[in-house]
Amino acid sequence: MLILTCPYCGVQAEETELHPGGEAHLKRVGPDGSDEDFEAYLFARKNPKGVHFERWRHAYGCGKWFLAARCTASLQVFGTYKAQNPYPPAEIVDAIRAHRPDWQPDWTVQHAQAESPAE
């Protein structure tokens, strides 16, 4: 059974306690966006066979949404982090790299630094 640690309450939650919420880090398209962008935001998913960032809700616990990095091919969990992160934090990237040396993030460091929340 899939077990994820909720980054808010720290509970190691089993799958039955959680509700899956699909791909994480989707950027909502504003009023200026094209039809293509809006379609991509709504429907086009990466659906990778490998490292996947996704949303989960600790539905039968603290009730909060959080994010997880997981491998869809092996079901390995690399870590969980708070939903306030616009991009996966460095420690999650390091954890993925430790197991998947060939894996490349599809966002740039500049993005991640520019949009990371003020601590």
Binding site: T16, D35, E39, L42, N47, K49, H52, E54, R70, S74
Partner: protein
């Protein structure tokens, strides 16, 4: 049209008698396993039911036999061999009903057409209504089906009990309030569907190439040129991607993205028991469905996992949920031992309806998104897909299932209509 004398020999009672007299030494392989040529007019990726049916109807309806069907594993080893073999067409929306009814009607005569016994068994199918919402929903579906020319009827609980004597109508949690009955729904042998199509394709001179994984798609000026495979580069004029759970991966090779997420769907079978239920029963409120195979096993289908997954095994707690719910409706199965459990990776679209479409790359067509209900659609899907590939534009069956519907908001919303991830 396939020739009258297939290369694998025609199966008949006379063939059985002839072979009985010579120690069954004359049976030939049902399909050939050639090495790939350097180029084909059409390449179909995926030798499951949908891919093989696509190839078959390309030959049968359009005379295109310069076709290769590539399969990374073995023929019919994906979702074609992992489903619960249910065939029905009691959908609400007109485009769905047309496509699934076409498939169901082709299933009726498929054994004769392919000269291969697919064991189609139109034993009848009941979708139980166990809440007031389902009663209203299924009554509406019956009215829609009658307008669409799909023969279904609403039946009262007493008739349900007559058809399924082992059922418990009283609940208490989910009493049976009636059912949506399709008398010509049923089951078929899923492997035989793949094998029968493969044999017919091979007899038409098409190449079915197993253990041949596509690892790249070559395009030039927005037009497909070739596929790179584990058996080398193979050129093609047109390419059909018919790979269910791995559609996103193939689309990525071709440089576009699909509105698809892959999740695990699972099923299980019990030990064989004496015949006790000769209809298919679906209980969508609790999301379990059950039929009895010809071997006597109770075949049980469950729900999908909610998260992306490519492992072909589902979550354990879904098995528990499914079985727990079915035991209330069928108390006699409570002591049955379960023999096997397995999973398949299904391709779910945003509106839970399939995609039969041209793509942003010229010459590439996709047939995917059948999600949890692909087996029942195989002949109709192949029929519509062959027309799309041969003509380059969709015919009436495929017209509403294009990729553009996601941009234009023209959904075929069966997920709400069926109240179940069919």
């Amino acid at each position: 049209m396939p020739s009258d004398a297939p290369r694998s020999g025609r199966y008949s009672v006379f063939a059985i008698a002839r072979e009985a007299l010579r120690q069954h030494s004359g049976w030939k392989r049902a399909w050939a396993s050639p090495e790939p040529r350097g180029r084909y007019k059409v390449i179909v990726i995926g030798a499951g039911g949908h891919g093989l049916a696509t190839a078959y109807y390309l030959g049968r309806n359009f005379g295109i036999t310069d076709v290769a069907v590539l399969e990374k594993g073995w023929l019919g080893g994906g979702n074609t061999g992992r489903n619960t073999t249910i065939i029905r067409s009691n959908y609400l929306q007109d485009p769905s009903a047309a496509l699934y009814e076409k498939a169901r009607s082709l299933y009726e005569t498929l054994s004769q057409e392919l000269n291969y016994n697919i064991m189609f068994s139109p034993r009848g199918l009941i979708m139980l209504a166990q809440t007031e919402h389902e009663v209203r929903g299924y009554r509406r579906t019956v009215h829609a089906n009658n307008l669409q020319g799909v023969a279904t009827e609403w039946i009262e609980p007493a008739r349900v009990k007559e058809l399924v004597p082992i059922i418990n109508l009283d609940g208490p949690r989910y009493p049976v309030l009636g059912g949506l009955y399709q008398a010509r729904g049923g089951t078929a042998r899923h492997d035989a569907v793949a094998w029968g199509y493969a044999r017919a394709c091979s007899d038409m001179g098409m190449h079915i190439i197993q253990n041949c994984e596509v690892i790249g798609i070559e395009t030039e000026c927005g037009q497909v040129r070739a596929v790179n495979t584990s058996k080398g580069r193979i050129g093609c004029e047109k390419l059909a991607i018919v790979v269910a759970g791995h559609s996103s991966q193939l689309a990525e090779m071709a440089g576009f993205r699909l509105p698809i997420e892959s999740v695990a769907l699972q099923a299980l079978v019990s030990e064989p028991i004496k015949p006790c239920m000769d209809v298919v029963v679906m209980a969508n409120t609790v999301h379990g469905y059950m039929s009895q195979s010809d071997k006597g096993e109770m075949v049980i289908g469950g729900g999908t996992d909610g998260f992306n997954n490519f492992t072909q095994r589902g979550s354990w707690h879904h098995v528990e949920e499914t079985v727990r719910a079915l035991i209330e409706t069928f108390p006699m199965i409570s002591r049955l031992k379960m023999l096997r459990q397995w999973g398949g990776i299904v391709d779910m679209t945003g509106d839970r309806s399939p995609i039969l479409s041209a793509t942003p790359v010229g010459g590439i067509f996709v047939n995917c998104g059948w999600g949890t209900g692909g087996f029942k659609a195989i002949p109709g899907s192949g029929w519509a897909m062959a027309e799309l590939i041969a003509k380059g534009t969709p015919g009436p069956l495929a017209a509403e299932f294009g990729l553009n519907r996601f941009r234009e908001g023209r959904f075929i919303d069966e997920s709400v209509a069926a109240g179940v991830a069919h």
